[in-house]
Amino acid sequence: MKQFTYTITDPVGIHARPAGLLVKAAKALDSAITIEKAGGKSAPATKLMALMGLGVKSGDTVTVTAEGGSEEASLAAMERFFQENL
């Protein structure tokens, strides 16, 4: 299991469009990706409604975890995704 933390800079947070893109990106990976919001709530990155339900806002810190498969590559892809989109 590998993880990184990231602070959201997008002014609206993980809103519909980036959440949709995130699901697409996460589905393309061979690891199970989980997004955890500081405070405990978490959701699999492949589930759109659950992700949006986290209500992650600008300035919130999330922990992204990759489990199984090529964890390192998956996490690197996720890190790039967060930097570019969120």
Partner: protein, 544 residues
């Protein structure tokens, strides 16, 4: 006359009868006579059909309102693929032996309640999206079609709420405007209405007696007049006509090249001062953004905006423009534009003072932050960088050197960067005199005619006493422009104007004859300018 107020989401006027739209209640049988497996089959077939419809709506929206706004229908498709959502539908069918339409409606209500209970206003607005997709599937299952929406004469639609898909499906020729009781200015419906140029008011408390009565929806003043007085009606008709003129101009010019009768082409771009102005650029069909004043990011913050914050904003603009050129002018602060945290000294002559590139070249870290953000955004479209207030070749070289440093740093980190054109503002007499040398350093020039006029004529434009002496068409200024164009072209540099003079229709012919390659004007000036360009014939004798 009765007046009701709400929150306007588009500055526009609609005049016509009101029509109250009531959604037909879906008649759903709860208990199924089929097996759960058969109901699931029905649901799955309806879901696939809904996906097809949404793909069609996406294409329609893409055409009418652009990629960023159309994305909601892609999200809708993904919502219909969501595992949790599908599991919930299946669980209801399996455990309660219900019909598919009952299961999907209940699931929609449950998920939408979850969103509606969230504290974030944006997420609360998503409740409507979940209901929208559930309703779509249920309608397919029950063979329902919403009549009533488009029927009859053109009218101002009044409804409790409208979903994004209802908004896009509305027949625009019959829809004068709409009024809703619920909804937020954040909702996709509001965004779509804005982009489709439909006057709309939300948060209006209406009653059934309004149905069929004549009304004026005044989007400029956030209100609706029911049974308007004659005088008011006449004023509003006038206002509406001038809005329509603009609109029809747009329809005639949309996607047509800006080319004179004798075949000379010129680019018409728009100036923006905020990321939210991008909608206006697309609405007015400008070919690109010729001047993105980046100062607003600094003026609106309490402290230096971070690289990531800036990147997010630039990226949004660049993505929305979808490959069309976006020229970002680097920080032009100082003089009349002040941000407290810069701690700039008070100056005797701020217009001649510590401002723009002069600040950037001495506060290199601030400058680099912005350049890195712009470079990162360049991977998402077509970006150009423009330096303001240049007076010497050395400044351009220094700025380019810092830019090269940022490029190298980003590349070393493996960050993607697009191909970026570099240009400068020509807004000082010094830059005009040195145009030949400067042109060898950059890809383009953009004439900032406001400052250039002020510096050339030594006239402070803020001082009303000087109005008699001020001539925007002063021959000295026009000669400066001509000199700049000729020098730029000698060295393969394209030359444009991004100052107010660019929108001066009495000079358009002169500019075309001078050989300017681009004019960048405020979004509302784009269409009148394009219309004029297409009517000019430079092969005949000059008219001025």
């Amino acid at each position: 006359m009765q007046v009701a107020t709400g929150k306007s989401i588009l500055n526009g006027i609609a005049i016509g009868p009101l029509r109250i739209y009531k959604k037909t209640e879906i008649q759903t049988c709860q208990n199924s006579t089929l097996t759960p497996a058969e109901e699931w089959e029905r649901f799955d077939a309806a879901r696939r059909k809904a996906q097809e419809q949404l793909a069609g709506l996406y294409d329609k929206a893409l055409d009418e309102v652009g990629e960023e706004n159309a994305a909601i229908f892609e999200i809708h498709q993904m919502m219909l693929d969501d595992d949790d959502y599908l599991d919930a539908v299946k669980a209801i069918i399996d455990t309660q032996n219900t019909t598919a339409e009952y299961a999907v409606t209940t699931t929609g209500d449950n998920f939408s309640a979850t969103f509606a209970a969230m504290e974030d206003e944006y997420m609360r607005a998503r409740a409507a999206d979940v209901k929208d997709i559930s309703r779509r599937v249920a309608d397919i299952l029950t063979g329902q079609q919403d009549a009533g929406m488009d029927g009859g004469r053109p009218a101002i639609l009044v409804a409790d709420d409208l979903t994004p898909s209802e908004t896009v499906q509305l027949d625009k020729s019959k829809l004068l405007g709409f009024i809703t009781r619920h909804g937020s200015s954040n909702s996709h419906t509001a965004i779509l209405a804005r982009t489709m140029n439909i006057p709309a008011l939300i948060g209006v408390d209406f009653d059934d007696s309004w149905d069929g009565r004549l009304a004026v929806l005044d989007g400029y003043n956030h209100c609706v007049y029911i049974d308007p007085a004659q005088e008011l009606l006449a004023t509003m008709e006038e206002k509406r006509k001038s809005d329509l003129k603009q609109e029809s101009l747009l329809q005639n010019l949309k996607k047509k090249p800006n080319i004179t009768l004798d075949g000379k082409e010129i680019k018409v771009y728009a100036n923006i001062g905020n990321a939210s102005d991008v909608g206006l650029v697309l609405q007015n069909d400008a070919q690109g953004i010729g001047l993105f004043r980046s100062e607003f990011i600094y003026l609106e913050s309490e402290n230096y905006p971070t690289e990531d914050q800036q990147f997010a904003l630039y990226k949004r603009v660049v993505e929305t423009m979808a490959g069309k050129k976006v020229i970002i002018r680097t920080l032009d602060i100082g003089a009349d534009k002040q941000a407290a945290y810069f701690n700039l000294d008070k100056e005797e002559n701020p217009a001649l003072g510590y401002r723009a590139i002069r600040i950037c070249l001495t506060r290199k870290e601030v400058f680099k932050q912005q350049l890195r953000a712009i470079l990162r955004a360049s991977a998402f479209g077509t970006v150009s960088i423009m330096f303001p207030m240049i007076i010497s070749v050395r400044e351009v070289r220094d700025a380019k050197e810092i830019l090269a440093e940022c490029t190298a740093e980003l590349q070393a980190q493996g960050t993607a960067i697009g191909k970026v054109e570099v240009g400068i503002m020509i807004e000082t007499p010094a830059a005009v005199m040195l145009a030949d040398e400067l042109a060898q350093e950059v890809d383009f020039f953009s004439l900032g005619t406001n400052d250039l006029t002020q510096y050339t004529l030594a006239i402070d434009r803020q001082n009303p006493k000087l109005d008699n002496f001020y001539d925007p068409h002063h021959p000295a200024v026009l000669r400066m422009i001509r000199h700049t164009v000729e020098a730029g072209h000698r060295h393969g540099c394209w030359v444009g104007i991004c100052g107010e003079l660019g929108a001066d229709l009495t000079l358009t012919e002169t500019f075309l004859r001078m050989g300017l390659d681009e004019l960048s004007v405020s979004p509302s000036a784009v269409l009148p300018l394009r219309k004029l360009i297409r009517s000019l014939d430079l092969s005949s004798a000059p008219t001025t």
